[in-house]
């Protein structure tokens, strides 16, 4: 740091001393400690700034507004408890709507038609099976054994099972 010709601190050093004395060089700092004139210059500037600050402080009009904080936010428990009826109501409404639309779907004409057709087909297959069973009561293997004799004529049956009337008469 430079010094003035008279050996005292320069104006910029006085300002640096006001900002922070540690910013002065060792030489400048030593001079400031020893020189009452430079000390006086630094102190005077500091006092001017201090008086300025105090003047500003007292020149501010008084605070007239009462400061208010926002309403306290409810705690998590209260927050949850307050919403329980709403949540329960919404869930109930959801369930009602779900079942309502489910019922609507089940009863819808489009689906009923499809189901009817399915049932009709099933019935048809069932009736077909019953008819086949009536017509062919024995398993298919037995029919293979009997071969074409499956169509028994009356004479053959008479031979196997003679009429009882004839027996009685004889």
């Amino acid at each position: 740091m430079k010094k003035s010709n008279l050996g005292h601190l320069l104006e910029e050093q006085i300002i640096w001393a006001v900002v922070d004395e540690k910013e002065l060089s060792e030489e400048g700092h030593n001079h400031l400690v020893e020189c009452p004139l430079c000390q006086g210059r630094v102190e005077q500037f500091m006092v001017e700034l201090q008086v300025f600050g105090e003047r500003a402080n007292v020149s501010v009009p008084p605070l007239t507004k009462t400061m208010r904080l926002p309403q306290a936010e409810p705690s998590a428990a209260k927050y949850g408890a307050r919403w329980i009826p709403f949540v329960a109501g919404a869930a109930m409404a959801g369930l009602v709507l779900f079942f309502y639309f489910l019922g609507m779907d089940a009863m819808s004409p489009k689906l009923a038609t499809v189901q009817d057709q399915e049932y009709l087909l099933e019935d048809e297959y069932l009736m077909q099976e019953i008819s086949e069973m009536v017509e062919y009561p024995l398993p298919a293997e037995l029919y293979e054994i009997t071969g074409d004799a499956a169509d028994f004529d009356d004479d053959f049956l008479q031979f196997v099972l003679p009429d009882f009337q004839e027996d009685f008469q004889s």
Binding site: E11, E12, I15, W16, V18, V19, D20, E23, Q44, F45, V47, E48, L49, Q50, V51, F52, G53, R55, A56, N57, S59, V60, P61, L63, T64, K65, M67, R68, L69, P70, A72
Partner: protein, 191 residues
Amino acid sequence: MKIAGLAENARDGNRGSFQELMIMFQEDIYRLAYYRTFSQMDAEDITQEVFVQAYRKIKTLHDPQRFRAWLYTIAVNRCNDFLRKKKYLFLLQSRSAREQEVEEAGEKVNNNYTDTIAKKKFWEQVRLLLDKLSAMERQVFTLRFMDHRNINEIAAILGKNESTIKTHLYRALNKVREESGFFQEYRESIS
């Protein structure tokens, strides 16, 4: 220490602790806002907004020891936002509306400060002085000599390192020193 304790409690959700902090700091924050807006009404509104914002964001305060710096940061940012908006609105206004506003402001000042014209003159001088400083120099000068914060705190509030703050403060003081007329009456009153 007490501030840190209250800040910690407030951060944990204690509304009463925050209210205590608000009572402790409301005058300081109001003055800070006034030094930047030169309007009682605006400063009061800003002070209210600062505490509402601080209350809502208190959980983001990492270090309760630095509550003051944290609160001042909110306040400085709020003031900057306000001044920026005001500047844009001022530019958008027609000239006649602007003149009318200035006249109204003048009347308000006269009504509020009827006790002393000296106060009005003082604030006019302060405005002229601060207008000569850059935005950063003005911030640093105001925080140091009007809000009475030290270099370390100013660095924390503005989020800069201390050497940067010192450089801006030096430049600001250099300009203030050049305004010999401003401090003349103080010199006279001191001597």
